[in-house]
């Protein structure tokens, strides 16, 4: 094998190695779990923008910690400064800590809403809790639906 053949062999090995590297499965990315909160209101019930909803999720991976969320929504056209007609879904993307065992982790939601009834002419507050579980290890993401109450006359 002359020098030229050796050089060609090295180039071939190098190209093969590079190509193999491109086909390798990239290192596993950190898993995330998602909690999606959907707030539903009855017709005629508006959500105060002056006192926006306070929404907290118990961190499933840090006992005792709560994650607050910024809430936004679609303004109520007749009083856009003061009310939301409806809220956008609240989404928490939570990175799973390395070494977390597969399984379900409780992640409860607490929410306080200041509401006004346009049909009945009064305002009230509504506190809600919802129990959720996030699944680590290929489990489905969690969507929680909270229905706000409508006070009967």
């Amino acid at each position: 094998m002359n020098r030229l053949q050796v050089a060609a062999l090295w180039v071939g090995v190098a190209i093969f190695s590079w190509g193999s590297a491109q086909n390798e499965v990239p290192p596993e990315t950190a898993e995330t779990v998602t909690v999606r909160l959907v707030v539903e209101t009855e017709p005629g019930v508006l959500i105060s923008r002056l006192n926006p909803p306070i929404v907290e999720l118990d961190d499933p991976f840090r006992l005792g910690d709560a994650l607050t969320a910024t809430v936004d929504g679609e303004p109520y056209l007749d009083d856009p400064e003061f009310y939301y007609a409806r809220l956008n879904p609240v989404i928490w993307e939570l990175p799973v800590p390395q070494g977390a065992a597969p399984g379900g982790y409780p992640a409860d939601i607490r929410a306080t809403f200041a509401l006004c009834s346009r049909t009945q002419g009064f305002c009230f507050t509504d506190e809600q809790t919802a129990m959720t579980t996030v699944q680590v290890g290929g489990g489905a993401n969690e969507t929680v639906v909270v229905r706000l109450r409508q006070l009967e006359r």
Binding site: Q120, F122, C123, F124, L151
Partner: protein, 177 residues
Amino acid sequence: MKGCTKRLGAVLLLGVLGWGYAQKVARSAPDFIPGGAWLSSEPLSIEDLRGKVVLVNVWVYSCYNCTHSLPTLQGWYERFKEQGFEIVGVHTPEFKSDKPLKNVQEALLREGVTWPVIQDNAAATWRAYGNSVWPTFYLVDKRGIVRKVQRGELSSVFSQGIKPLRKALEALLAESP
């Protein structure tokens, strides 16, 4: 005899149910529990107001439905005050910004509220009345008994509550103490 006993039992049951229903409205007005200052008045109690017809208005200045009701109350106050009518505003905050005395004082000036108002910053009076919404109106007779409860705005937009409440108010003013 057996049928008679049954009928008597049914009448008694209806009586008890009717009495129970009446108690839901006709009950002694709970006293005002201070949770801040009294505005436009010395501290008042339900006892102090005996002999007057009192409209206890649970409200907060940041609630549109509450402030929209004030012109109706002002009209009644002017018209019936000399006949022994009093309004007591129970100002129960909805937001943190509703609590400072200065904010409430400014709101009373802005809205032209001249009747006594008590700050209910701990919502103790709200709870004593078993209240759940802003605004709510408790009509109290000359003996200190709650005779009518009306929830929701009293205005040209929400006018359905005005007539029955005014009718009840006038009827109570006509009662002897």
